[in-house]
């Protein structure tokens, strides 16, 4: 009988042990580290010094601003585009649905490093995108060398990578909206655009909330794209919190301060998720 009680622990045991060593312990340890400073392994407790240092660290504030600009611009554009493509693909008139769906989803399969490299090469000053732009007779755009356009490049690349992913989530959500709602609206003379804003978006609200939270968490941790595509530049215009953490920890080996930055990301994610739930009125 006693042996029987042990069975579930046998099943859950390996996961719990691995989780404790490689997740729980590091999470707690890095909280402790965030109150310490020093180089390499010569660390000592300095209370809230690191947090105070963050407040007056101009580079950190730039990174924080950049991350939020990317978040506020990229996430809505991507969600909106994904919603539009999903409702176009959901149209009853459409043939080759599967083909379109696969093509739009394909970018989501590529590794972040690989697509960032491709976009970086395409967006170079004499890259293919500028060649097309100048062939049409317009001025070349300084995609990667201008602070504004470098951010725009990241937004474009990230949107390309994630639109299809979100679109598939929305497509599944659209299946649950009863066709009669649209039929009734058409009978009342509501246009497709009106239907989109008055039926599609409200019905998908919980799904939109879900994808927005996922994208927000992803963007707050953003690292691969700015690291490869713009290398944080020009002059820190695309430096994100995630990149600053990497530089602090693994270029300057200031583990205490880097852990403080990591905990700022933890706090930001918690706060942003909480706000998004509040704003949309927790229905779930």
């Amino acid at each position: 009988m006693k042996q029987k009680a042990l069975i579930p622990y046998m099943f859950v045991g390996p996961a719990v042990i691995l989780f404790s060593i490689f997740m729980a312990y590091p999470i707690i340890y890095s909280l402790i580290l965030s109150f310490q400073s020093g180089q390499g392994s010569n660390l000592e407790f300095t209370g809230f010094d690191n947090f105070q240092r963050l407040m007056s660290d101009a580079i950190f504030i730039t990174a924080l601003k950049n991350t939020f600009i990317l978040l506020i611009v990229q996430v809505p554009i991507m969600i909106f585009l994904a919603l539009i493509i999903a409702s176009l693909l959901n149209s009853a008139l459409l043939k080759f649905k599967g083909l379109f769906r696969v093509s739009f989803f394909l970018p989501a399969v590529t590794s972040l490093v690989a697509y960032s490299i491709i976009f970086s090469i395409m967006l170079m000053n004499d890259g293919v995108i500028n060649q097309v732009i100048s062939a049409v007779g317009l001025d070349r755009i300084p995609w990667l060398s201008d602070p504004f356009w470098a951010k725009a490049s990241l937004v474009i690349a990230m949107t390309w990578r994630w639109v299809g992913y979100n679109m598939v989530i929305f497509l599944a959500g659209l299946q649950n909206i009863p066709e009669e709602l649209y039929e009734a609206a058409s009978m009342d003379g509501a246009s497709r655009i009106k239907q989109f804003f008055h039926i599609t978006i409200p019905s998908l609200k919980p799904v939109i909330l879900f994808t927005t939270i996922l994208s927000t968490i992803g963007t707050l941790q953003l690292f691969d794209e700015p690291f490869v595509l713009t290398n944080g530049g020009p002059s820190d215009a695309t430096l994100t919190i995630g990149m600053y953490l990497y530089q602090t920890g693994f270029r300057f080996y200031d583990f205490g301060y880097a852990s403080t930055i990591a905990y700022v990301i933890v706090i930001l994610i918690a706060v942003m998720t909480f706000i998004q739930f509040k704003v949309t009125g927790d229905q779930e």
């Binding site: 999470i27 093509s103 491709i118 890259g127």
Partner: protein, 274 residues
Amino acid sequence: MKKNKTMKKIMLYVALVIGTLVSLFPFYWAAIGATNTSGSMFTQPPTLLPGSMLMENIRNLNESIGIGRVMFNSLFTATVYTVLALFICTMAAYAFAKFNFKGRNTIFTIFLLSMMVPYHATIIPLFKMMAALNWLNTYQAIILPNLAYPFAIFLMRQNLLAFPTSLIEAARIDGAGEWKIFFRIVLPSMKPALAATAIFLFLYQWNSFLWPLVALSTTDMYTFPVALSTLFGLSRIDYGQVMAGVTIATIPIIIFFLLLQRQFISGMLGSAVK
């Protein structure tokens, strides 16, 4: 009225075809780049057709990063990780879904909450831990940290909840052992969920960048993302070589995706979509 409808249909297709081209062009561009010289990616008009440099680019790439070795590192770490993680996470999920035990809800809640914590918060302690164990720049450093992946546990638990408990009880009455029940009765009926979770785990490891970048230090241990980003960070970049690398790293995943679309999509979305 009828004409209006045809117009709308044409516009719908035009919009979707443009979108599709935008989606696919970067892939095409990378493949074309892989077959041309470094300079051909920057010409006016753009070089849109395949060239004859593919073999040369691959040879140069091989000299820079050792394609076979990088491919092996990526495949080996991702495969071993997927097999072990799938096993460990499914076992845990089974305990959460089908057993009542002390601490179950607490442990499960801790797993769920940890999904909110960004990976960044673990990376410095992990680095110190691996350094202390002398495990930096090893396969185990890449494979071990995320074996108990909370999201995979959560996914499998959701699927296992639907498995009829009566079948498990019947097998117990027949005298089957717990492991036998798990392997012979429960797992075989979970194939679609296992496939989706396996794809999720494999892609996670295959694409993982920040931790391998931190933990690996020599070219012979690099996985694709680290090798490619290093190649791309050189002061003199051979773009033909880089594009060949990107293409080689991407093609296996695309083929795999086209073959297993359904499982792939539900795996990548974490079966959020049902």
